[in-house]
Symmetry: C2
Subunit: 493 residues, 2 copies
């Protein structure tokens, strides 16, 4: 590392961009808006995928794969869907053929125009419901619980690594049900899966809620979401789960024979999280020294750095280090012993700090004599000397990792608490949004016009109507019209 | 199932297509040449992925992700690469923008032409080497051992599910090395990983070899491959590993500071297997009743079907079945107890036969009395009654699954042996290719012209020069020119 990161307090946005690049998470590619996810960043994403995939399967879902390309006409079949997505697509108009020869070696037309233009999927409801039409005949075929891990493309002019990229990776669940209630239950179940994942693995507290019609997924009857808060006080939507009603079933004519002998349209849901979660993870916990990773998602949980002046010293330290490595691995701890002699200990300390490795063990000749190690915590940047005679190193480290996971969560939780403000006047609203940031809990009259106007004036949007909203008579912070409960406003990513 | 599958002996091609569809592996989508991989098919692919990914990581590789889109100009940077790939691409020419308004709500130009056209990646060497240029400065940055799981697109006019589709899923490894020898060693190592995977998991014997210049990957100095034989005697290339020399390093100007203080181009490799392996798996082992899956890749290894006439009978059988399920799961066996009352046992038997479940346990009231089960093997279509007093059911089943894995491999191995023919004359060559099929081991004079001519006359290509080729003086089967060893010819998928 040539020099330190920019400070969060000075330029949060620059800090984020630099951190993503220097910690080897991702970088921009030669294609505008498309990122390269680097090995270290990808290994965090793989850990996210593995946990989510396990949770999807435990709730009865199976994976499948649907085509990257969607005929342009499909988008238009659902009226609000086309409005939401048709205008941010990459369009495939041509193909080139290997065998574009007339048989005598003469190239006739190497590049040909497609009869119907294809769009690169921005989301897969249309292609999937056109397929479901053939898969669903009777109530016996329901529920259909399918998930897909895939890349999607939404053409964006202003992109930021992980947060908003033209191509991103995600999972999209698409389910079909016999009854409305079952579909709503599924929508809520998957919202809860996302919330559990965010809180238990990402150490990220989230508010569960419902979007206003303005912010609803194009084609959904209801969009549920989890909203997280970043360290600059801005909100980030971390996952959405949509109750689609019968909208896509009607658009693609997917009917089923009911148990009672009737014929009805199928009820649908879709739900997704993306590599955007990487952005949330980074922005929620990291500091001016680099990444701070919750142990449950850290590719390396513990690094051991030997301090040595000679090969002989390294040999003696290695012997002890390998003992610790072996004990930790038996308990499933991911541990790396960095015995390279091409880099100095100080360089390694800074490097693993930048990469967010939760625990660092340093061992020198004196530690060998005293049977001690120096243990450094990434999240608190504290160090302690541990006497190995007094503890069992393996269970000690496991407990420490759990403590770190909890501490990181609690810190984010406390930050959110101190940055959530109840306001009751328009002056207060503007002041908090402008000067303090965070979530603003306020009464709203329920109209889209008010929502739009507030957004125009303050750049704050309604993040959600929280699921645990209390009934409370009040007056809209902007219009003074009556309101039955508070909603959460914030500026958002 | 309405009626039986077509027979292999009558129409092998139709049998394959129908099997893929009826066993719920994959189907064609509305977009020409693009397939939908259905949940059951995808669960087999996931098992393949998991094993391969483990093997890649054990050999030191990490995963990353590179963009779907490649600037058209990139392809042309490596001369033979552009020739091989530029003519089978999907081309993105336009994008549409959400914010294509002039600020007053007037849409100015919703669809815009890209400054430089993008192609959807047919393979990622170009975009990856353009990235490696920034990742590699010194010998300390080498070797760089990266793999990517991704979708790729090669526009094909004639497509077949899994075997040749416009979009397919694959992994592509891309490594960079400081020396030629190290890159060659890597190429061979990954060939061996593929061969081990094919033989140990897919139960598919393969010949390891090198491609002739005609069949080489566009941009490689050498292409290593594994070649398998299908039940119709045709060959199928199951995986390739390319030694790229310094070709892509030169095309993208990727140099590194050597240990000795010099500056040199980096040496590269790339290697991949795709969902084509699904086609190989299906065609190598399955029969006229449906899929035959090697236990190591079967999503369900054992199915238990109860035979009952009343709820009371089902209850008693369930008790026993659940005991068996629990014992088997403890040993990591994937077992499914199908107690549905919506389908008859006969229907279930046929269904699991079609789906290739290796072992089926049937249990009726009489079995309960006698403490027996009926055990049916999918591969041999044999049944036996097992007395549970005489065996330990869990270890018995595990041993049986291992036996099936071995038997399936041996059967494919024997088939290949009887369908590999050494020929020494042109008449014999034509006769075997035309009437017997399989691999033909013959002398070849080493010239591309001869190879082309033979292909034109017989549709047979040189599958590979086997790595274990024996030195043997001979004369080319076609020209009579001198040859130093035999190569493998076959008609191929």
């Amino acid at each position: 590392m040539s020099k330190g990161l920019p400070k969060r307090s000075e330029d949060y946005s620059l800090w984020y961009n630099e951190l993503v690049k220097r910690a080897d998470l991702a970088e921009n590619s030669a294609v505008r808006g498309c990122m390269v996810i680097k090995p270290y960043g990808y290994s965090i994403w793989e850990k996210m995928q593995a946990e989510l995939d396990r949770m999807f399967k435990e709730t009865g879902h199976t994976n499948a794969y649907f085509p990257l390309f969607i005929p342009k006409s499909y988008l238009s079949k659902e009226a609000s869907h086309v409005e939401g997505f048709a205008k941010e697509c990459a369009v495939v108009t041509h193909y080139r053929l290997k065998n574009s020869e007339d048989g005598k070696g003469v190239v006739v037309d190497p590049e040909a125009k497609l009869e119907e233009e294809l769009i690169v999927r921005p989301t897969s409801e249309t292609v999937i419901w056109s397929t479901y039409k053939n898969w669903i005949q009777s109530y016996r075929d329901l529920p259909l619980l399918v998930n897909q891990w895939a890349n999607v493309v939404r053409w964006e002019m202003r992109t930021r690594l992980f947060l908003r990229t033209a191509e991103f990776l995600w999972q999209e669940g698409h389910t079909a049900h016999a009854t409305k209630q079952e579909a709503i239950d599924e929508t809520v179940q998957m919202l809860n899966v996302y919330a559990t994942f965010a809180e238990s693995f990402m150490a990220l507290p989230v508010v569960k809620g419902v979007k206003t019609p303005n912010e609803r997924f194009a084609g959904a009857e209801d969009t549920y979401c989890i909203e997280a808060m970043m360290q600059d006080g801005k909100a980030l939507q971390a996952g959405t789960s949509h109750f689609l009603g019968q909208n896509f079933a009607k658009a693609f004519d997917v009917k089923f024979a009911t148990k009672e002998g009737g014929l009805d349209y199928v009820w649908g849901t879709s739900w997704g999280v993306s590599t955007r979660l990487m952005g949330a993870l980074i922005m929620a916990h990291s500091d001016d020294n680099g990444l701070v990773l919750p142990p449950k998602l850290a590719p390396i949980q513990v690094v051991i750095v030997p301090i040595f002046k000679s090969d002989e010293e390294l040999d003696r330290i290695s012997e002890k280090a390998k003992e610790i490595v072996s004990k930790l691995r038996k308990l499933g701890v991911s541990v790396h012993f960095d015995h390279r002699d091409t880099h100095k200990p100080g360089w390694k300390f800074a490097e693993y700090e930048l990469k967010g490795v939760p625990l660092r063990i340093a061992m020198g000749p004196r530690d060998l004599e005293n049977n001690t190690i120096e243990l450094a915590r990434r999240d608190t940047l504290t160090k302690e000397t541990i006497n190995l005679n007094e503890i069992e190193i393996d269970s000690f480290i496991v407990a420490k990792l759990e403590e770190i996971q909890t501490t990181i969560y609690q810190k984010a939780f406390d930050f959110r608490t101190t940055h959530t403000t109840e306001v009751n006047s328009w002056e207060e609203f503007q002041d908090v949004i402008e000067n303090k940031g965070g979530f603003v809990s306020a009464h709203w009259d329920g109209s889209s016009e008010t929502e739009d106007k507030i957004k125009e004036l303050t750049k704050a949007t309604i993040r959600c109507i929280p699921l645990d909203q209390k009934e409370e008579q009040g007056t809209c912070v902007f219009t003074g019209n009556s309101s039955k409960g508070r909603v959460l406003f914030a500026r958002a990513y």
